[in-house]
């Protein structure tokens, strides 16, 4: 059986990561460093993932204490851990069959945790009601997104392919999910000159471009953006909602970075809230799926795989099938579910763990705010480099104005120019970032993406190496 012919065309169509070679080289470099091979640097700075722990940010103490107590309940009865930790662990374990994190939960998640999430959403959204039966916990938000897209896709071979409007640039995993499910990504460009703003005219243009190619059924928005760091204004969100309603598009709102907002004039407001505040008929009719996760924000618990989707204004008959889909997956990992509970119901003033919790989250937040400022300063001071303000999210996505000689060299080597830049940066400076070609960008523009949710000293070192490398690079190719 050999098989490239004999395997799923949807899987075949998923784009291979452009920076696969970088991943391999980074792995080799890590090994070489371990073997004490001489290099201009002692450690690699790996900022290609949106992974705070990998980048040195410490897990929140309260979260880890609760998880440990849930894993090994002897700790619940001992004095090792603070009282509120033990109380929370007791409460979470009470919601588990047999009092064990090793049991399956209900497919959508433990009832108490799901209720907690719906209360969190209601609080967050100024009282707009949220119903537990519309919430599904999944192993990471991408998993839930894939289930929803699966329901949206028209799989009949004779029908036109299902299209989903997606931002350009866009987080590559989402595009891969869509393609893997047989859908087509229909890109709408974000406007870099205006801080990566989403413009409705561009949504319209994208929709028209789909004529004859596919049938768009959904509009995918990432707010705050990845990789762009853009935070949508209320006004923009209202326009999007009106557009979705008019064009009969299902709205997919990926809001996993909602806790990471720093811009002076930016504020995160959820699509659900804006929709509710717009009142009927829109608030009763626009169909919306909002996604959140324990992977981002201050918790940064990517490895626990805890995310959720809230479904709004869904056809109840379709909900039944969504339930079945999630049930065939059994349930989300219980520790991931617990992480969501800790995210949505953190320690409160008066709780013994609150002071430390507040200190740790404030530290992470101030680190982020500082990093954002430093990146903006440093990158914009470098010739051939510019960076839009990072209002939210955990990435910087600066643009490089590469000299023609560099572009020429890259083309000669059969590489995208920004991939070429990143390969050099990795090799010579030990800094691992992802080229913009991975996310899509306007023709002739080049970018890099790197995570800014990193320890301060690592950020300074990164900027130092980047400055030194970039200056040399521009000289070499002038």
């Amino acid at each position: 059986m050999s098989a490239l012919q004999e395997m799923s065309p949807n899987v075949r169509n998923i784009k291979q990561l452009q920076y696969v070679a970088l991943i391999r080289r980074a792995s080799q470099i890590k090994e070489e460093l371990r073997q004490k091979v001489r290099k201009p640097y002692k450690e690699m700075i790996d900022v290609c993932w949106g992974d705070p722990h990998r980048a040195g940010v410490k897990p929140l103490t309260f979260v880890r204490q609760v998880l440990a107590a849930c894993l090994y309940p002897q700790l619940v009865d001992s004095d090792t851990l603070p009282v509120d930790v033990r109380q929370r662990a007791r409460m979470l374990l009470r919601g588990c069959a047999g009092g064990s994190v090793g049991s399956y939960t209900a497919p959508a998640g433990t009832s108490e945790i799901v209720h907690g999430i719906s209360e969190f959403i209601t609080r967050r959204d100024g009282g707009a009601p949220s119903y537990p039966e519309n919430i599904y916990i999944s192993p990471g938000s991408q998993w839930a997104l894939q289930n929803i897209i699966n329901v949206l896709v028209n799989s009949e071979p004779s029908s036109p392919k299902t299209g989903v409007l997606t931002p350009l640039p866009c987080y590559s995993t989402t595009i891969s999910s869509m393609v893997g499910l047989g859908a087509v990504a229909v890109p709408y460009s974000l406007c870099e000159e205006r801080g990566w703003e989403l413009q409705v005219e561009e949504l319209q243009r994208a929709l028209e471009s789909a004529k004859g190619v596919c049938k768009p059924v959904a509009l995918y928005i990432v707010n705050p953006g990845n990789p762009t760091g853009y935070v949508q204004s209320r006004k923009s969100m209202q326009e999007v909602i009106r557009f979705a309603s008019e064009k009969r598009l299902f709205l997919l709102a990926d809001e996993v970075y909602q806790d990471c907002v720093y811009g002076d004039n930016s504020e995160f407001v959820s699509y659900k809230r804006v929709l509710a505040e717009m009142g009927p008929p829109l608030s009763d009719t626009v169909e919306l799926a909002s996604f959140h996760s324990a992977s981002k924000g201050f918790m940064g618990e990517c490895g626990l795989r805890g995310g959720y989707v809230e479904l709004v204004n869904m056809d109840p008959a379709v909900m039944k099938y969504i339930y079945t889909l999630f049930s065939a997956d059994s349930c989300a990992p219980v520790l991931g579910q617990f992480a969501l509970d800790l995210l949505t119901s953190p320690p409160q003033p008066g709780d013994p763990s609150y002071p430390l919790y507040r200190q740790e989250t404030r530290h992470i937040r101030s680190t982020l705010v500082r990093n954002v400022k430093r990146v903006f300063e440093v990158v914009n001071s470098l010739p051939g480099f510019s960076c839009q303000p990072v209002e939210g999210g955990v990435f910087a996505f600066p643009r490089m104005h590469l000299p023609p000689a560099a572009i020429h060299k890259a083309t000669e080597m059969g590489m995208q120019p920004d991939l070429f830049y990143c390969a050099r940066l990795l090799e010579e400076a030990g800094v691992f970032v992802i080229p913009g070609c991975e996310y899509g960008q306007k023709e002739g523009t080049y970018h890099i993406r790197f995570c800014i949710m990193v320890q301060e000293d690592i950020m300074e070192e990164l900027l130092r190496r980047l400055t030194s490398f970039h200056t040399q690079f521009m000289k070499d190719f002038s």
Partner: protein, 515 residues
Amino acid sequence: ISCYLSRSANTQFSVRRSARDITNMSQQAANGLPCRGKVLNLDNMNPNVRRVEYAVRGAIVQRALQIDKELKEGVKKPFTEVIKANIGDAHAMGQKPITFLRQVLALCAYPDLLDDNKFPDDSKQRARRILEACGGHSIGAYSSSQGIECIRQDVARYIEKRDDGISSDPDNIYLATGASDAIVTMLKLLVCGKGRDRTGVMISIPQYPLYSAALADLAAVQINYYLDEDKCWSLDIAELKRAVTAARQHCNPRVICIINPGNPTGQVQSRQCIEDVIRFAKEEHLFLMADEVYQDNVYAEGCKFHSFKRVLFEMGPEYSTTVEMASFHSTSKCYMGECGFRGGYMEVINMDPEVKAQLTKLVSVRLCPPVPGQALLDLVVNPPQPDEPSYDKFMKERTAVLAALAEKAGLTEQIFNTVPGITCNPVQGAMYTFPRITLPQKAIDKAKAEGQVPDMFYCMKLLEEEGICLVPGSGFGQREGTFHFRMTILPPTEKLKFVLQKISDFHIRFTQEFS
């Protein structure tokens, strides 16, 4: 106010709208004016998803949860609790976690505990090793999509040890979010083609309904091969041949799935049978998927778990270099029962390198499997050794769990076979019994009149009268005209005896009522 799902005569689920839904409607709709149809509705949703069913969590479980609620609200019933013998969840039924596993995991979650002298040295050593392999020394960091490398190496070593030295390459190991995730991933990869070329996947009847659900979702053609109930649910090559030959008329058979030890049947395949299946797969040019998640759950005398991989390699290079295969394992079953961690792996054998590259690409779309599940798997494949402090306790706990299961397997078979109208094959392995029930014709007619499959009718009545939740055999597949139910053997022995008695009494009553 919650929604109650009920089954109408058309086997379409209908949802009774709650008062809340009505108040949510706009004034227009409330006034009876037509509202615009939903953007996502039954007519335009993915037709494949409409065909997906998963009986283990299906209608009967919904009703069981409803009854749970009613009991909590103080509604009087002939029983005080609903016993959920529908799902293979050991901890839910009171099985205790293995101490060593939980100690290491707690240390990984909160490494400050490494300074606590309440934890034995071997648990700390393992925790340190796992954390060393994690990004930023945290189980909260993403791992590589295929799984943490040193854990895959440990898994490969475990497989080599289990299979008497036959080598295993860590690069062929893919950690997953439970074995289910890996199974679905493989099927996603393999299913293709249009019309008569559509991929056909062979699966046993009865089967674990994850397979039928995945095949429906992927619009693959499900090719049923019947296990022989009269021969203890054994697999017959002639039956495989019949099934695949008939299937070639309308699809392109490319995969054969086998669950060993079996779910729901508990049957443990003989070595000869495994060889025959491998030969069959080679002759028919089929990719073999061997679901071996119950490999430690073997109870019956004379039965032994033989891994497909080991048998394949012992059959010599003619087979071991050509038959393409994936074996699956999990942390949810065996003696661990850690379903909630979603830990598992698959090992792929003789996979075309280009296809493997596609597989590696596909798993990256899920980002990575849960790291605690990966850590747990590492401990399962790397348990305490005889010279380590935790060894004695670990072995004691492990042995106790498996011994209890073996006892309950025997007890179940014994008690059910005393009831006229219930025939129970020996529970050779896994965690379930799948007895055949004889239903009086009147009951079958009544069920049909109410638009219910007869064994669902039976199980629903059992649930309402005794508060015991089982899954009807129709959820797993069975020969036309036969009826079964699947019950787990997981409740603690005394409770199990109680359940067996109640079901036996119910069956006799049921038979009399409909005679």
